[in-house]
């Protein structure tokens, strides 16, 4: 993706903080800093993986992009050929043309479809909103969408409970595709499925990406999935991106100690292969009260004195001629690389 620098979405210092209220008078005593200053450029046509352990703010980031969660600071800039628009400044009316461009596929196939409606009933209102007036036309479009996700068009008159998890997930994908988006946030889109179905859904996603020229932001905690489909990977820790680079790069030249620990935890189906597991001590620190300096320093095995005081910035390095961003003081030390 190095050669293609056509940016579709820029995140600038994006923050999503939620107030913590306590006491009789509901005073704000602090903030949960779920997303705490994320800078990212998402290129047109790429698959950007966002990984990190539970509670690091991956999902909140995805939802903040679509404004399903209101960000408290920063910008989400949508770039098309002729304009750049900061989505966080728009009201609901102003968002409408951009809602068409950005869509989301959810994690839980059991709650992502309305149990009281048939598939047609669930999918027709967005089409209505975006100008498909006749019912026959809507049926046609939804039928085509179901075919695109390898399902039979007749299924549109069935209710969600009549489908399996994998089928529902594919319907969720069809729904996201229904209004012709350019970028789809896949929020743990395959995590709830079993492995054989995961592969099937991933292949479907890749096929659709080719056909419809989509961009994916692929949120997951499964590193073997990211390796399979992502062009670039952003590693998040405690609401921040700590490392960002091409996906092979991440596996070959890991810079951040947190990423190293994550990668060492990926199970490998090879009994003879002895891996040095890096076991992280303790939990992710509270996002209400993050540690001083580098947020990772209390769990980092190679932390130095400087990590406790200075917050590392996401800096650009060049490894084998490719961009590689990391936020770690250790990388700057001469012996580290």
């Amino acid at each position: 993706m190095q050669q293609n620098k056509d940016v579709i979405l820029k995140l600038r210092d994006l923050k999503a903080h939620f107030p913590v209220k306590a006491g009789v008078f509901k005073r704000t005593v602090g903030h949960v800093k779920a997303v705490d200053g994320v800078d990212l450029d998402i290129y047109r046509g790429e698959v950007l993986g966002v990984v990190g352990e539970s509670g690091c703010g991956k999902t909140t980031l995805g939802k903040a992009i679509l404004r399903l969660v209101e960000s408290s600071e920063g910008q989400v800039i949508y770039c098309s050929d002729d304009e750049q628009r900061d989505l966080t400044t728009l009201d609901n009316e102003g968002m409408v043309p951009y809602r068409k461009k950005l869509q989301i596929v959810f994690q839980d196939p059991h709650s992502s479809l309305n149990p009281a409606f048939t598939i047609f009933g669930s999918l027709e209102d967005p089409l209505k909103k975006y100008g498909v007036k006749s019912r026959a036309e809507r049926r046609k479009i939804i039928g085509d969408l179901l075919e695109a996700v390898n399902m039979r068009p007749e299924y549109m008159d069935r209710y969600p409970h009549e489908f399996s998890g994998g089928q529902r997930q594919r319907i969720g994908i069809a729904r996201a595709l229904s209004i012709g988006p350019e970028l789809i946030v896949c929020d743990e889109a395959v995590s709830a499925l079993d492995v054989s179905i995961q592969a099937q859904v991933l292949q479907l996603l890749m096929k659709l990406k080719q056909e419809k020229n989509l961009t994916y932001v692929f949120i997951t905690h499964d590193l073997s999935v990211t390796e399979y489909i992502c062009d670039r990977i952003a590693v998040m820790y405690l609401g921040r991106v700590v490392e960002l680079c091409d996906s092979e790069e991440l596996y070959n030249h890991t810079l951040h100690p947190y990423t190293r620990a994550l990668l060492s935890a990926v199970p490998v189906a090879d009994l003879d292969k002895q891996t040095d597991r890096i076991v992280l001590e303790g939990d992710v620190p509270s996002p209400v009260n993050p540690p001083s300096g580098c947020p990772f320093h209390p769990r980092c095995q190679s932390a130095i004195e400087r990590c406790k005081t200075d917050v590392p910035k996401l800096k650009r390095y060049e490894v084998d001629g490719r961009d590689h961003f990391a936020s770690c003081h250790l990388v700057d030390l001469p012996e580290a690389v």
């Binding site: 939802k63 679509l66 399903l68 609901n92 968002m95 409408v96 809602r99 950005l102 869509q103 989301i104 959810f106 994690q107 839980d108 709650s111 992502s112 479809l113 309305n114 149990p115 009281a116 409606f117 048939t118 669930s122 209102d125 967005p126 909103k129 007749e154 008159d157 209710y159 409970h161 969720g172 729904r175 996201a176 209004i179």
Partner: protein, 312 residues
């Protein structure tokens, strides 16, 4: 049924049946209109069907009362006081000689209007407010909550006394009072359901399409909350009919000269009538119970029929 387990096995009975279903589905014959499916599910529920029959019967008989009985419900006949049931007076006569069968029929008009009308009206108010405020949350939710608490913390009977004193005793006042005191329960139910349903991912998906709040909360989420609301409506219908009976019994409901089921029961205050003249209170009591029961059955049936996960 002969099943051979080699790969080129013959199509058996089940295979053929499955092929048939598949062919029909492909031809679009199985995509029943929603209304048809709903009616089929509702009617296949025996209790619901029974409820519907009884309900329709009682409503019809009440509405058609003038055709079914020659008597005037208010005509006093002092020569026939407290007569037991005869062929002339099917349910006998009351203390001033009015025909009880006629009064039960005419009384049904008012009682059903009060019971069903108040229940539906308070449900509409409660659901409209509860769905919206529960979905959007924030200060609107807090405000609606406080208002409903004010209404609910007021004892109904005091409110009735107050309003009757101010506005006078009338049918419409009674309905207004029932709506005022009754909407809170359904509001809270709807709000509570909304609070949990709004977190579902399909709601977020709808929001990500930029659909408007009324469409999301009334069209898409409300059907999922309808089960308990429906049951609550039927229960409150029953409660309102009984409350009307109770208030009329105390002389606070509908003016005494208008026949209602409650007003007919009113005379059972008198211990002598309770002991000696069973025909005054028993038939009307049975009618009230039957009506309330049928409404409850219908409510259960509606709830099951609206739930697509239950096969009918």
């Amino acid at each position: 049924m002969s099943v051979t387990h080699d790969s080129g096995r013959k199509k058996n009975h089940l295979d053929r049946q499955f092929d048939l279903i598949r062919r029909r589905e492909e031809a679009g014959e199985l995509s029943n209109p929603k209304g048809y499916r709903f009616a089929r599910k509702f009617l296949s529920n025996r209790l619901a069907a029974f409820g519907l029959v009884v309900f329709t019967l009682i409503v019809l008989v009440s509405v058609l009362a003038p055709l079914l009985t020659p008597y005037n419900p208010r005509a006093i006949d002092l020569r026939n006081i407290l007569k037991p049931p005869t062929w002339e007076h099917w349910f006998g006569t009351d203390k001033v000689g009015r025909d009880l069968f006629t009064r039960v029929l005419y009384g049904g008009q008012i009682s059903i209007l009060v019971g069903l009308g108040s229940a539906l009206a308070s449900a509409v108010v409660g659901v409209l407010v509860g769905c919206y405020t529960g979905y959007v949350g924030g200060w609107r939710d807090a405000l609606a909550m406080r208002v409903s608490e004010i209404f609910m913390s007021f004892p109904q009977i005091i409110l009735v006394l107050l309003l009757v004193a101010i506005l006078g005793q009338s049918l419409s006042n009674l309905i207004i009072i029932f709506i005022l005191t009754g909407w809170g329960g359904i509001y809270r139910l709807a709000r509570a359901r909304m609070l949990s349903l709004r977190e579902e991912e399909y709601v977020q998906a709808l929001r990500s399409f930029g659909l408007s709040t009324p469409i999301i909360c009334y069209k898409h989420i409300l059907p999922n909350a309808l089960g308990p609301i429906m049951v609550n409506i039927t229960l409150s219908t029953a409660a309102f009919i009984l409350a009307e009976a109770g208030l009329s019994f105390l002389g606070l409901g509908v003016p005494l000269d208008i026949p209602t089921w409650g007003n007919i029961l009113n005379v059972a205050q008198d211990l002598r009538i309770l002991e000696n003249n069973w025909w005054v209170w028993l038939p009307v009591g049975i009618v009230i119970s039957l009506f309330v029961l049928s409404v409850n059955f219908i409510g259960d049936g509606l709830r099951d029929a609206t739930d697509p996960t239950q096969q009918g």
